[in-house]
Amino acid sequence: MERVGEIIEASTAGFVAQCYELYCSPPLGSLVRTRDGEVELYGIVYHAATGSLEPGRRPIARGKDEASEEEIYRSSPQLAKLLISEFSALVVGHKTGDALHHYLPPNPARIHAFVYQCPPDEVREFSRSLAFLTILANAHLPVSTDEVIAAALRRMGQAHDDPHSFLVAAGKELSLLFSGQFNQLKSILGRLK
């Protein structure tokens, strides 16, 4: 299982993790997993950012005399240590023992807990129920909810043997969730393909 980062900020609803490698955050909408003692927490990546390690120190443009982007990093190797990538995930479920629950865990994740990207088998297992969509639909995120939902479903679809029927089932679930917001529903459906 691929370890993708370590938690540096956690709350009941979500967590922020720092990547071990620059630019190596899991893609938008992917399902990640971390652990709080016996409880395994599942999150969906909704935001990723790369910036300076120190908040007061802004990066400056360095490539004026370089031929390519790669050359910049090669000539200034300290950059990889001064910049960091981090990502945020929304907690959408947890697992105690063998039981999967598509609702919030009793406690938030711990700082420095490792975050793993879920393999397709686990994604398939988790997405057997679409109840997590309610949490996503009701979250207040810095990114558009429509985009996150669509990205998450697209990625989950890839883990299924029949992505089309998974997406149709998810679409039907969404049409119930967004029965009063027809335009939003239409925009999500448009992003599912």
Partner: protein
């Protein structure tokens, strides 16, 4: 196919229940008139689809429809935001409580609970409701889109008067033939058929011009063909058993009353008939029409206070009757007695009218014969009650163009009105065939036990056929949507609930074979019964 169609979401006993279709089920696969079962918590309901409609959860969908050319979007919306609903009329409960287990399906007294699953009725369900073919039940057709046989309990059917209705060309005659074949085989009744268009005794033709066998060809030993027009019968190569002739002296004033409209007689002329009969005796018709324009006649008319114009009006009417060739001054044989002889032997009688398809002849003959036969039956029945003698065999009289006899003006006077009302007390019932049921007296219509109706599209006809049926409005939409061929709606006494059938095939060699096979099976059954009884 017992796949789930949807769930009950609303409804009432009177108006039927609303069923929301599941996503994968297409409204286009549904059809009005089809059967469904509803799995309530304690009972199973059996009902019929009476309407199909479309619904959306959000009104905006109808204003800015989604792009359904994208199959994904179409698939997502189907059954969720945009869904189909069925309107189902629950009719019976099957299984569940003790009563339905013992006595079979019971009429519904409640509706299924919210969100009860609805399934397409299985063959077994339909069989449970309508029974399977046996020595009492006759297979008349299949429900729409199903292979199950719908059977009518014929001994039960003939206990009441029955009606076959439908626009012309919708298959009334074929249905009647089929039903008559069934009665011949499975009911204890004998038939007397007033065959206006010569279709039931010997060969008839289908709409396509194909010749179709009729009763006597299929059951030569059980059917006798009587004719009013030997010449026409001979030309059509029909082997007839008896030529019916009617003597002047057999015509009674009551027979004339019915002809008032067709002969254009005035009220006074009808009065005059009674007076003439009283004065002139049995031979009144001949004497009255032969009266010379003498003073003597004038005296007589004056004495009876019959006005000259009235008398002329009457004479014109009588002349029309005398022109009918089968009416003679002296009939060589008594037609009524001969018919009764045959009927008593269990032989069914078809009376062909040959070329005399004119309604005057039909009304006159049908009424005249039926009145006398009914009187005989009445007498025998009363005797049977008093002396414990054998009751006469149940008789079914088939009449066409029934609205001419049973219209509100005449229904109280004709014998057919009496039979329809008295029903089975005297073991005589009617099989009424008509294309304008609205012309039939409502009182008579209300006494018709089982109604079999093909397509009707006149509002008044539909109303009169469905009068007094529960769920009338729902059935109305079913009736108006019948196909114009080979489809009929049956409801009333002999069926547990209204049913739309695709009529059993009649007219191909295979169909004759099947019809005869069931008949022979019945005979074999009878032989077996006798064997068992006597060892």
């Amino acid at each position: 196919m017992t796949d789930r169609l949807g769930i009950v979401v609303a409804g009432s006993l009177e108006k039927g229940v609303e069923v929301r279709l599941d996503g994968p089920v297409s409204v286009e696969d549904m059809a009005v008139g089809r059967y469904v079962t509803i799995e309530g918590r304690k009972q199973r309901f059996f009902g019929m689809i009476t309407d199909i409609s479309l619904g959306v959860t959000d009104e905006r969908l109808t204003l800015t429809p989604p792009d359904v050319s994208d199959p994904f979007v179409a698939e997502v919306f189907a059954g969720t935001s945009a869904y189909g609903t069925l309107h189902v009329l629950p009719m019976l409960t099957i299984g569940g409580d003790a009563a339905t287990l013992i006595e079979g399906p019971q009429p519904v007294k409640t509706v299924p609970a919210h969100f009860s699953p609805v399934k397409e009725a299985s063959q077994r369900d339909v069989e449970l409701v309508f029974g399977s073919e046996d020595e009492r039940r006759f297979y008349v057709g299949t429900p729409l889109d199903m292979e199950t046989k719908i059977c009518l309990d014929l001994p039960e059917l003939v206990k009441r008067s029955n009606g076959i209705f439908g626009k012309s060309g919708t298959g009334k005659t074929f249905l009647t033939r089929l039903l008559l074949v069934g009665m011949l085989q499975k009911s204890a009744a004998v038939n007397l058929i007033f065959d206006m268009h010569n279709e039931y005794g010997w060969a008839g033709t289908s709409e396509g011009g194909r010749p179709v066998k009729a009763l006597k060809q299929l059951f030569p030993s059980k059917v006798a063909v009587f004719t009013l027009d030997e010449e026409s019968s001979r030309r059509r190569k029909v082997s007839t058993d008896f030529a019916v002739r009617i003597g002047y002296d057999e015509i009674e004033p009551e027979d004339m009353v019915l002809l008032r409209q067709t002969l254009n007689l005035t009220e006074q002329a009808v009065e005059a008939i009674y007076q003439l009969r009283r004065r002139l005796g049995k031979n009144w018709l001949e004497q009255a029409s032969d009266m010379p324009d003498s003073e003597e006649t004038g005296e007589l008319l004056k004495e009876l206070s019959i006005h000259e114009a009235t008398f002329q009006n009457l004479r014109r009417g009588l002349a029309t009757i005398r022109r009918l060739p089968f009416i003679q001054s002296q009939a060589p044989d008594n037609a009524v007695r001969r018919i009764l002889e045959y009927l008593d032997r269990g032989i069914n009688v078809v009376l062909e009218f040959g070329r005399y398809t004119d309604i005057t002849a039909y009304i006159l003959v049908a009424n005249l014969l039926t009145r006398r036969i009914h009187a005989q039956y009445r007498e025998r029945m009363e005797k049977a009650l008093g002396e414990d003698a054998a009751k006469p065999t149940p008789l079914v009289i088939t009449i066409e163009e029934a609205h001419r006899f049973l219209n509100p003006e005449l229904a109280s006077q004709t014998i057919f009105g009496t039979i329809a009302r008295e029903m089975r007390k005297y073991n005589v019932t009617l099989l009424v065939i008509d294309q304008r049921p609205s012309g039939i007296d409502t009182e008579v219509m209300s006494q018709v036990g089982t109604k079999i109706t093909c397509l009707l599209d006149n509002e008044r006809d539909i109303d009169s056929v469905l009068a007094g049926v529960s769920g009338k409005n729902a059935l109305k939409s079913v009736l108006a949507r019948l196909e114009s061929k080979q489809q009929a709606l049956i409801f009333g006494h002999a069926v547990p609930m209204p049913v739309v059938i695709r009529t059993r095939e009649y007219g191909s060699p295979q169909s004759y074979k099947e019809l005869l096979a069931t008949g022979r099976g019945g005979e074999r059954q009878a032989e077996k019964d006798i064997e068992e009884l006597w060892g």
